[in-house]
Symmetry: C2
Subunit: 366 residues, 2 copies
DNA sequence: AATCGATGTGAGTCCGGTCTCAATCGTAGG
DNA sequence: CCTACGATTGAGACCGGACTCACATCGATT
């Protein structure tokens, strides 16, 4: 064994002080780089610290500075590349400012989120970035805000919470992409999401997620502007795992009045939807058109490459972390809060409606 | 404003004690649930705590228990779904045992890793899970081990470090899959990895990554068993970003003695490799065969679906966290350490060698 | 030479918990 | 009625740093 196998107590400032023959206060000053310390003392202390392999106890330090230099990040699912990328943006930015990140997964479960927030607060993180599972149940977030610790929301907003929120304008991009589908001739457009709800989707129902809510609003508006009725029956929420998504997909694509286009709410859902379409023996875009949220690299590899709604996910992670750290350090908000917008990337998965399905529609001029 | 806007000091045991008219010690006991406390006192204290909305300061608690109930996770890149999934396994498991996870990204940079480990140690994490960027530079890891804090390695081992390591037998699966390619007639097999090296690959050179090293060993052995010379010139390391990978791919696929099969070292690389192949106008598997490490859902969506080497990534994350927590809690190792093995999932991206390229080889019976 | 401000320095307090220890209380055993 | 032992309880030390405060030191000022 290289060093003494026994669990030796950690080296503290007191130990260093003794070795350097100075008071604990002086050693602390030299080590912590504050206050007045003579060159002589500083050298002796630093040498002793080096010799003893002293390492400061950040816990103790945090305790009386009140700053832990740690931020908490609460997301629904890191396994989802969307959050993976956002997290990357957050950690990169945090590191640059000397902050660490405690990551908690909630499985999009509000109870878990409440718990996560509490634990993180107990650990005295300096601030929180949360992608709230629910835009409605937000008492726990309000409590964070009340406790005086900065909070930044990611992707989703929270009702009645005046908190900096980093998200794209979902209604706008949803409107734009729906309009695109409508102009390509689609009227039967399905929307599949894992958002959990108590009842089946109906007009004006209050959804737990501002993000999904905004998307549906955008779709509705596009249909309305086009003078078409919005196909509520094709909005499928509560999609669970892969099997559930496949079933839902089969469901909307079969029968008399089947969907001619499917919109997947995120990359994970998209995988199962496309798989289901392939299993059904349908071709994209000849038989069904397909559109998905999030632009992952693999969407370019399929045949045809998929038309997607690209979101600046990494940059949003960066922005969220920057905003949080700014608040933590008490700096004023930047002159202009950055606005993020998604873009529709037209690749090959959206095509004209197959002649066989439904009445022929007149495609209006753009 | 719901509560007083001013930054009120956090409520402490002392405050609760005062409110409950008991000593600080008694309040602490009731709250911390230790020692002897009469029913009467307990109730008064709990009521007061509830009333004041008391929340324990985990920092303070950690400081004198010496346990932070936090584990550090150091990976190369969370953006890579491989680590995303592993991290999910780790966090799920940690949460189950009441541990939190501090996540640090190193960009596969050893200096960053050294720093990350130091910071985490300073924060007094109870243990570390590291996917070491280098299997050679491991002094910092040795220091962790020496400090008495548990350490578990993920994916890659570290030279001369007797530490629990959760990884699959790369040499074995590499041997198996290379043999498969050889039996399909391939002799010119390229291997593309982002592993950074000082010089171009040559036989017996010492690589920084045990994982890549093992894979190449497996390939070599397969070639040797088959009585064929290993095509060292097709081992391409130091692939950087997407562009670099595309260039490398083009490179090995063009010229007189082009590769007939390409093996991508991970999912991220695979994306660029496949893209490059498509750009070259080559068809998989008619013109080029393709094999990749990691089985992501999207590999089933391409045409043809890709043949992959599937690793139980999530389970490995779970195993790493379990092992670490077991060590932290001082429990003895499980009777049998779980062995993880990868499996070759034959889908459609590996085919026979196109007639045009190279000498015809006799395919030996399996 | 007396005064003043700018360092240096050490003793000791504080952060918010945990934990030791001695004192107190109740009551069962003798 | 007295003693003893377990349950309670409060005072205070302690974890490892940061920071306040009072007390030197010392060259510079007038």
């Amino acid at each position: 064994m290289s060093s003494d196998g026994a669990r030796r107590r950690d080296v503290t400032v007191a130990d260093v002080a003794k070795a350097a023959q100075v008071s604990k206060a002086q050693a602390a000053r030299a080590l912590g780089n504050y206050g007045a310390v003579s060159e002589d003392v500083r050298e002796r202390v630093l040498a002793a610290a080096e010799e003893l392999d002293y390492r400061p106890n950040e816990l103790a330090r945090s305790m009386n500075t009140g700053k832990s230099h740690t931020i908490g990040v609460v997301v629904g699912d890191i396994e989802n590349p969307h959050f993976g990328l956002a997290t990357r943006g957050i950690t990169d930015t945090a590191k640059k400012s000397g902050f660490n990140v405690i990551l908690v997964n909630t499985d999009e479960n509000t109870a878990a989120e409440v718990d996560a927030v509490r634990v993180l607060l107990d650990k005295r993180v300096d601030g929180l970035i949360v992608a709230p599972a629910s835009s409605v149940e937000t008492q726990h977030l309000r409590r964070v805000h009340d406790s005086g610790r900065p909070l930044v929301l990611l992707d989703r907003s929270a009702e009645g919470l005046e908190v900096e929120t980093v998200a794209v304008d979902m209604a706008a991009i949803s409107y734009e992409s729906t309009r695109y589908l409508l102009q390509t001739g689609h009227r039967r457009i399905a929307f599949i999401s894992t958002l959990r709800t108590d009842a089946a989707y109906t007009a004006g129902m209050r959804l737990d997620s501002s993000q999904i809510s905004d998307r549906l609003d955008g779709m509705r508006r596009a249909f309305a502007d086009m003078g078409c009725a919005f196909p509520e029956d094709l909005v499928r929420l509560n999609a669970g795992g892969a099997d559930s998504i496949r079933n839902l997909t089969r469901d909307v694509l079969q029968g008399n009045d089947a969907a001619t286009a499917v919109v997947a709410s995120d990359g994970l859902i998209a995988l199962s939807v496309v798989e289901a379409i392939q299993e059904l023996g349908l071709a994209i875009p000849a038989d069904v058109s397909f559109l998905m949220y999030d632009d992952f690299a693999w969407t370019r590899l399929t045949t045809p490459p998929l038309t997607v709604i690209a979101q600046p996910v990494y940059d949003m992670g960066v922005a969220a972390a920057s905003a949080l750290i700014r608040q933590i350090e008490g700096r004023p908000p930047a002159a202009a809060a950055p606005e993020f917008s998604a873009t529709l990337v037209r690749r090959g998965s959206v095509g004209v409606v197959p002649a066989s399905s439904g009445e022929s529609v007149e495609v209006p001029a753009l």
